[in-house]
Amino acid sequence: MTENKGSGTTTKPPKKSAKERVEELEQELKDSQVWKSVFRHKLDDTPRNRSLAVLSNVFLHLHPARINRDAVRYNFTWGMGGITFYLFVVLTLTGVLLMFYYHPSKVQAFRDILYIMNDVPFGNVLRNMHRWAAHAMVITTWLHMMRVFMTGSYKPPREFNWVIGVQLLLFTMLLSFTGYLLPDDQLGFWAVTVGTNMARATPFLGHEGPFAPELGINAFNDVRFALLGGSIVDANALLRAYIWHCIAIPIIASVLMIVHFWRVRKDGAISGPSPVMLASEVKPPKKR
């Protein structure tokens, strides 16, 4: 029998190593419809893919594709703005989990905290993390403000972003303050009493402030009554603090944060470190 040579011949392909087979499977996976519908661009390390990794991702496209090489160093920004936002996310997550176990009523609030601390699995870690992240967030906000000031990053064109930042500072402290009352313990109750007692001293609007008697302001129609939903720190105050803390202020703060981050990009990304300017290079002031 003559051997058939030519196109009819089939030679056995060389045996593939395990590594090659795994690589083939990987490539099949990445060519599949399911994969491509989720990951819209290839992941190998090319400059194009590096940019796409940021620009085509809804969470990451807050960042530009490229930044000043020195802005990556923590010396300049200290990372405080980002850490503040991260703590906000941690607080939202731990806060939502705490909400599963908390009833904002005078009868149940304190007992719920005891339940969380003692009976809920990892409840004490959850509650502690919420409280310490809250304190840390107030501190990182202050440090961020200090950094922005020390680098002059509020100067034109970033003035308005500074103003938004000050509002965020205010709302961070108000978030912390409204949360302080929620355990309904002596610490929270008296802290909020001291705080809202300041409200009754508001000029014109508080019943113990200047000019109150002349305007007919009393304990039942002043701004403190509006805040507390009553003339004493009681069930209504607790419920209002809960709603401010969990819904109203987070929504307001989120909107402000959206504007704040947007403005950072639009005003030219992280301000520096920018080249130092000499006094002799300053343009003379416009004649008035």
Binding site: N68, D70, I83, N124, A136, I139, Y154, K155, L187, A279
Partner: protein, 324 residues
Amino acid sequence: MPQNPVNNIDEYLVNKVFDGHQLWELVTIPDNVPIVLMLGLVVFFLWMSFRQAKANDRLIANLEKNPEMAKTHHRNVFPFHKSWDRTVSVWPYLLKREFLAAMIVTAFLIVWSVYLNAPLEEPANPTLTMNPSKAPWYFLGLQEILVYFDPWIAGVVLPFLIVGGLCIIPYIDTNPLGNGYYTFKQRKFAITTFLFGFLVLWVALVILGTFMRGPGWMFFYPGEPWDHTKVVVEVNRNLNDIFGITGTVPVAIFGAVVVAGYLAVGGAVFHALFRKTRVFARMSTIQYAHLVLFFVLMMSLPIKMFIRLAFNIKYVWITPWFNI
């Protein structure tokens, strides 16, 4: 328990009432730990800013001495080589660092949460006042001011002025130098004023309110045990009493004159010192008016604190409707 109450710093030092254990207890209360951390972080970042500011100022001085170098030098203290790109990809360089920071913060938070329990006092009891009854630590600065001003100023007017003053900073700062880099020499007034307001009038008052204010909001030296039975005898008088002025209307007019006089004299002193600066020429009248107003109002706080502590003066202006 000390036998003799501590009335001044000499007695504190001589009687050696420093109780290290009490101070340690106070500092390690879980709710006070963040304040200790804040103090450490503020000091650290202050050092970090001034270190970079000094480096930049040295560079600026060198560039100003040497105009040729100023034309070609890359104007930054960070390492740089002409062949390097001025920008780098955010992925991976920035994002990996951000992820690392997030991991470190999370790890720190978890360890902190496992070992330190958040405070929980007894259930709220409207008939039992805590002593001392303290606001949350970030408002202790305002609570401290309550000693020197009435609630309507300390609790309403001053916070508005603080927020307003902060918001107005970018609009009255006409100095184009220092935009995006650390410097001290080029922004002496701005940095000094801000740090005075932030560190002295805010952070220091928080520290004071946490560690040195005890029962009855009385002052206790660090390490002095908090004694509920301590009695502080303080005879305060009003400014009009010192000058012998009595009667509602004369007192009110006197007070108005004092406050207006302070604003006028304060403004004049500020103007005399400030008009020689470089930035003054760049400011419009409205900008300058706001700068003077906020600065003089800000200074009224430490001045009022001083005259209260040094001369036991309580009110400078008394009217039937409000007291300052």
